[in-house]
């Protein structure tokens, strides 16, 4: 099966400003792919090119083997923009019905009910958009993006207006979509969320992919930290296998060891390093303690 999204050598210039300078990436079927980067890095531009809202200056983008912007590509994707609004006079149900008609979805009232239930809005299906909170509108936006069972979902900051419970709802939803084989390109600033839900991540900065891989691959080992009576000792090059030896040597040297922790960088560290901002040295993750 063709990848859900293939981006090849995409460049985009807005006058003298180079928003994208040759981006390549691929999102496989059923993969949740995170797109990270600072403001102005080119993430939203890339998503908009994939949606056909913005024309690339060079390169190509394919949605399920169809050129981005074509009717077939549009039929395969769902999109939630970072800055979106729905007509405030329309009810949630009316809005979804409009998108069903435009998408050619035959799902009818059943699909609308299922989608509203999925985003926990089924009890307010008749409420006007204007009377909904921003978080409710964002969840309605996700339901709208899922009309017609798209193969690829492009979500640009989908949880920016959501409270923690709403974010968890979206995370659960993304996991369910992955199980159904739906691919997701998630553009988010919430690194913890991306780390929790994404299979792979690309970090974009100044229009280029500066790092890519799974969150685990991007998070590097950072050594070993040992808490002794004389203070904390760090062994930056040590690995897990070195822990017994380190503890043995310290005890042999008369040190009292209270705790040993493996140090790993978080996705945040990897992100900050990739975009050229100095990350804090490391975060310790207590792994094992030695009395």
């Amino acid at each position: 099966m063709a990848p859900a999204l293939t981006v090849s050598g995409v460049r985009k210039a807005y006058g003298p400003v180079q928003a994208l300078r040759g981006v390549d990436l691929e999102v496989g079927t059923g993969e949740v792919f995170g797109l990270l980067g600072p403001n102005g890095a080119g993430k939203s531009t890339l998503v908009k090119i994939a949606c056909g809202l913005v024309r690339a200056s060079a390169g190509s983008v394919w949605i399920c083997a169809e050129p981005a912007g074509s009717a077939r590509a549009q039929a395969s994707l769902g999109y939630l923009a970072e800055l979106f609004r729905f007509p405030d006079w329309s009810s949630a149900d009316e809005l979804l019905a409009l998108h069903q008609r435009l998408a050619g979805s035959a799902g009818g009232a059943r699909e609308r009910h299922e989608l509203l239930e999925l985003v926990e809005l089924s009890d307010v299906s008749g409420r006007r958009v204007g009377a909904m909170s921003k978080g409710m509108q964002q969840r309605l936006g996700i339901a709208q993006a899922l009309i017609g069972a798209p193969r690829l979902l492009l979500l640009d900051e989908p949880t920016s207006a959501l409270d923690p419970a709403g974010r968890r709802t979206v995370r659960t939803l993304l996991e369910r979509l992955r199980e159904r084989g739906v691919s997701v390109l998630l553009n988010s600033h919430l690194l913890s969320e991306v780390e929790l839900v994404c299979d792979r991540v690309a970090i974009i900065d100044h229009g280029l992919v500066v790092a890519a891989g799974s969150p685990t691959e991007l998070s590097r080992p950072g050594g070993v930290e040992v808490e002794t009576a004389r203070g904390v000792r760090r062994y930056p090059d040590a690995r897990r296998d070195d822990v017994p030896r380190i503890v043995r040597e310290l005890v042999a040297a008369g040190e009292e060891v209270f705790q040993v922790g493996m140090l790993t960088s978080t996705l945040e560290d990897a992100y900050l390093e990739a975009v050229g901002r100095a990350p804090p040295a490391t975060h310790d993750v207590p792994d094992e303690a030695v009395a």
Binding site: C51, A71, Y79, F84, R85, W89, L98, H99, L102, G141
Partner: protein, 290 residues
């Protein structure tokens, strides 16, 4: 997408635009304003008719009833075109750039919907509101003129159609402008175009009064560049199509643009104008990043 599928999608967009007009109570506001206008128009017609009766038969043999009726109906046509223009502009001024800036357009454009289909749908939606509106109000104004002033235009259908076609062109101009201009700038630009059309009509009158060929040429070029003005002039002319003499002259040199009898060429030209305007708008929209 097949042409039939595209038309179907355009009708979905048009229906949505119509529903928006209903929900936003556009019709209620416009309806109230229209009632006020018609009430004032009726009052003016009644007063003018009374004044005309007070004069009695005049020594020059001028049918003052026709002069008063045709002048008032011409005035009504101008006001109705203006009201229709306001409606057309407000329904379309932010259709592309304005809606894109507010984030309303993006969810629609990522559907399997061509940009030209969206434009067509928005134009159909606006025209479906404005064209029947101007026709209905003009008919009501003619009815008032008949009831209170005892005068009915020589032609009924063509003045109504010229108004309807005129506002359809204005809606298309506003829609095309919305691709490049922000809402406020577009609204101002379209009203300035409307004013330019009116000026062209006035220039034509002055040219006729002064017998100035060059001024007349300028007026003609301007009214063809903005064919809603040429259509309006044709509609005015049809009010007194079968009238001759001073009565005819009175409406020809009316206060809001001279009447100018049009041939079938004007209708064909207007259709071609819409088609070219539409093609240009689609080309501009297709090149635009949202």
């Amino acid at each position: 997408m097949s042409p039939l599928g595209e038309l179907r999608a355009a009708l979905i967009v048009a229906r949505f635009a119509l529903r928006e007009s209903l929900r936003r109570r556009v019709f209620v506001v416009v309806g109230l304003l229209t009632v006020v206008f018609l009430a004032l128009y009726g009052l003016a017609t009644w007063q003018a008719s009374k004044a005309e009766d007070d004069f009695g038969p005049n020594e020059f043999g001028v049918d003052t009833g026709t002069v008063v009726g045709a002048t008032l109906a011409g005035l009504a046509m101008f006001v109705i075109l203006f009201l229709g223009t306001i409606l057309a502009v407000f329904l379309t001024l932010g259709a592309v750039r304005g809606d894109a800036e507010r984030g309303l357009l993006q969810p629609l454009l990522v559907r399997p919907l061509r940009r030209r289909t969206l434009l067509l749908g928005r134009w159909l939606g606006a025209t479906a509101v404005c064209a029947p509106y101007v026709m209905a109000v003009a008919l009501a104004a003619f009815g008032l003129t008949a009831a209170l002033g005892d005068w009915w235009p020589d032609r009924t259908l063509t003045p109504l159609l010229t108004l309807a076609f005129g506002v359809a062109i204005i809606a298309a101009l506003s829609l095309a402008g919305s691709i490049a201009l922000a809402s406020t700038a577009n609204g101002i630009a379209v009203f300035m175009l409307f004013g330019a059309g009116l000026t062209a009509g006035l220039l034509g009158q002055i040219a006729e009064a002064l017998d100035s060929g060059s001024l007349s040429d300028v007026a003609k070029i301007a009214s063809w560049a903005l064919p809603f003005e040429a259509l309006y002039q044709a509609g005015l002319a049809d009010l007194t199509a079968d009238t001759v003499g001073f009565e005819r002259l009175a409406i020809d040199l009316g206060p809001f643009g001279g009447a100018e009898t049009a041939s079938a060429g004007l209708w064909l030209y207007s259709v071609a104008y819409l088609a070219v305007l539409g093609a240009g708008a689609v080309a501009g929209f297709n090149r635009r990043d949202i």
